[in-house]
């Protein structure tokens, strides 16, 4: 385990973009957790303070209601990351569980599950998410996360299943079975470490996917516009004509930048993980 972190550190140090990504992610997480403690969104905006240019008081200017954009960005970090993280956890958990179970048990469980996986993989996820979100008009992060996960688990399930199947036939599995090790041990000690890297990377990319879909939902107004987050900010900016004027440019562009920077950070960081788990890819 310690080796893992040492290797990770070494790779991050060598690949500066991955290091930047990791640092940025940590920053975002810190802002998400601690941000709202330090800045507060005032309940009432001042119309007169709308669309101010950046100043010391409001480093990124103000929005149409006079709220500080920087403040909104900070406060809006938590809902986005919360849901993204939850959704990734759900998809990863469900995907791994189903993959392991079907791969190891086989039989009709496998056949039925594979049909379902096929369907989940073929139905375009985003329209389905939109339809369901439109119907279940909820802003509860857990519900939202669950909706976002409706098709995402399938790819991971299939990959984990094929790993489980191949491991099922490998010699050391047979050896373990002959030794009478319980299922728990086989799964924990033999299967998981082999499947681990793939799951970890899928988890990271799952967060990015969830954020993509989530912000999209807010952008379209399909998810209720309560509270504030980056998606809602862009939505409000556009509905107030930000596309046709430059004075609300910051209001429109800042949340977009926040999203892009986070997504890019994840992608770069996942490349480090990729070369960590696959030494052949390492840039020496």
């Amino acid at each position: 385990m310690r080796e893992f972190f040492r290797d990770l550190w070494r790779i991050l140090w060598a690949d500066k973009s991955a290091l930047t990504g990791a640092v940025l992610i940590v920053c975002y997480v810190l802002v998400a957790i601690f941000g709202p403690l330090f800045v507060h969104l005032s309940s009432f905006g001042h119309q007169s303070a709308a669309y101010l240019t950046p100043s010391w008081h409001h480093p990124l200017g103000t929005d149409s209601l006079g709220q500080g954009i920087a403040t909104e960005l900070i406060v809006g970090t938590r809902p986005i990351m919360e849901v993204g993280l939850l959704a990734a956890i759900i998809t990863t958990f469900v995907g791994v569980a189903i993959g392991l179970l079907t791969g190891y048990l086989g039989g009709w469980v496998d056949i039925v599950a594979m049909r379902i996986v096929d369907i989940a993989l073929t139905i375009p996820g985003l329209p389905l998410i939109i339809v369901i979100a439109a119907v279940i008009h909820s802003s509860n992060p857990f519900v939202l996360a669950a909706i976002l996960s409706v098709t995402g688990w399938a790819g991971l399930a299939r990959a984990v299943r094929s790993q489980a199947i191949s491991l099922r036939t490998i010699d050391f599995m047979a050896a373990a079975r002959i030794q009478g090790l319980p299922l728990r041990n086989i799964v924990g000690r033999q299967l998981l470490p082999n499947v681990g890297p793939y799951v970890a990377i899928h988890f990271l990319l799952g967060i990015t996917g969830a954020i993509y879909a989530e912000v999209g939902l807010f952008l379209l107004g399909v998810a209720p516009l309560s509270g504030t987050n980056w998606g809602i900010m862009i939505n409000l900016a556009m509905s107030q004509g930000a596309l046709y004027t430059t004075k609300s440019m910051l209001y429109l562009l800042c949340p977009m930048a926040a999203i892009v920077i986070l997504q890019v950070a994840f992608v770069f960081f996942s490349r480090a993980l990729d070369s960590l788990f696959n030494p052949r890819l390492r840039v020496q």
């Binding site: 973009s17 959704a87 998809t91 096929d118 369907i119 993989l121 073929t122 139905i123 375009p124 996820g125 985003l126 329209p127 389905l128 998410i129 939109i130 339809v131 369901i132 439109a134 119907v135 279940i136 976002l148 996960s149 098709t151 995402g152 790819g155 991971l156 299939r158 990959a159 094929s162 990377i201 899928h202 990319l205 799952g206 990015t208 996917g209 969830a210 993509y212 879909a213 912000v215 999209g216 952008l219 379209l220 107004g221 399909v222 862009i234 556009m238 930000a242 596309l243 046709y244 430059t246 429109l252 977009m256 999203i259 892009v260 997504q263 890019v264 994840f266 992608v267 770069f268 490349r271």
Partner: protein, 356 residues
Amino acid sequence: MISYVGKRVATAVFIIFVVVSLSFFMVRLMPGNVMEFLENQLARQGDLTTQQIQQQVNAIYGVLPSAPVWRQYLEYIGHICQGNFGTSISHPGQSVAHIIANALPWTIFSVGVSLIVSFVVGIAVGTVMAAAQASRFTKFITLVVSFLSAVPNYLIAILLIYFLTDTHRLFPQGGAYEAGVPIGWNLPFLSSVVRHSVLPIASYAIVGFGGWALQMKGSAISTLGAEYVRVAEARGLGRRRIMQSYVGRNSLLPQVTLLALSLGFMFGGSVFIEQFFNYPGIGYYLISAVNSRDYSLMMGCFVLITVSVVFSNLIVDLLYPLIDPRIARPSVGRKGRPSAPREIEEQPAPVGGTMA
């Protein structure tokens, strides 16, 4: 070979069937049973008999609310098979099928062209990257592409609109074609269509080509290292021949298997892109149906989007044996089961693609 085709078609039909059933049950399970809601609404208008109310609801949702559920279900399936998706509430008087029939070609056009553009550009860039691995060009492009693939396509769309339409008036703001231009196969119409499609297609393609480029680079590099390429060199074959017949086709094949995945993603993205560009495709109507609580239109759009994806997947699956001879002819000695394109190598999905 027959079993391969048969299996693919059967799976496709099955999935469509599941989706249609899903749409039926979703309408009924929605909070505030929509049909009841409509019934009450119509009843409150006061001037219709129960019979007429039932017929109205039937016309809109394709289902007779008073009949038992299983009967409703069968009727619904029957209607769908005949192409009757009910009537739209937000566009009164028009059948959902009519709206969809007008919208679908636009989506297929924009998504199709985008896919071709990003595929071709991506493959070309990827090949260059593989041929000149250590060059600065490659490193630069890799960085650019990784960056672009992380940006959500709707944000690109917004940026394009913001910078290129109003403030700089380079491209039209929205719509599929200039209002007032006579529709038909004439030049003003066609050029207007093209002009209006540039930005939407750019939104898909800018984000999309990167994935293809990286995949192609990886594939080409591993093919270049394959032994049969060195053997071809040892036989004295020319560079050109080797690149074309030996490297090209073999590194291209895995990309085809990704076409299916990409299609699903692009259709999904169309709900955003069409919304922002006011592009009257299926994605646009899906969103407008969602926003106006027009459930019959919403379900119709959803079913059609899924059918489009399933259908295109099927076409790719059926065309695949034509380019990969290993599928059609089972091998000797090993398990002769031909593996479908999507069962080969799982590749990491594009950012945003694992969910959507």
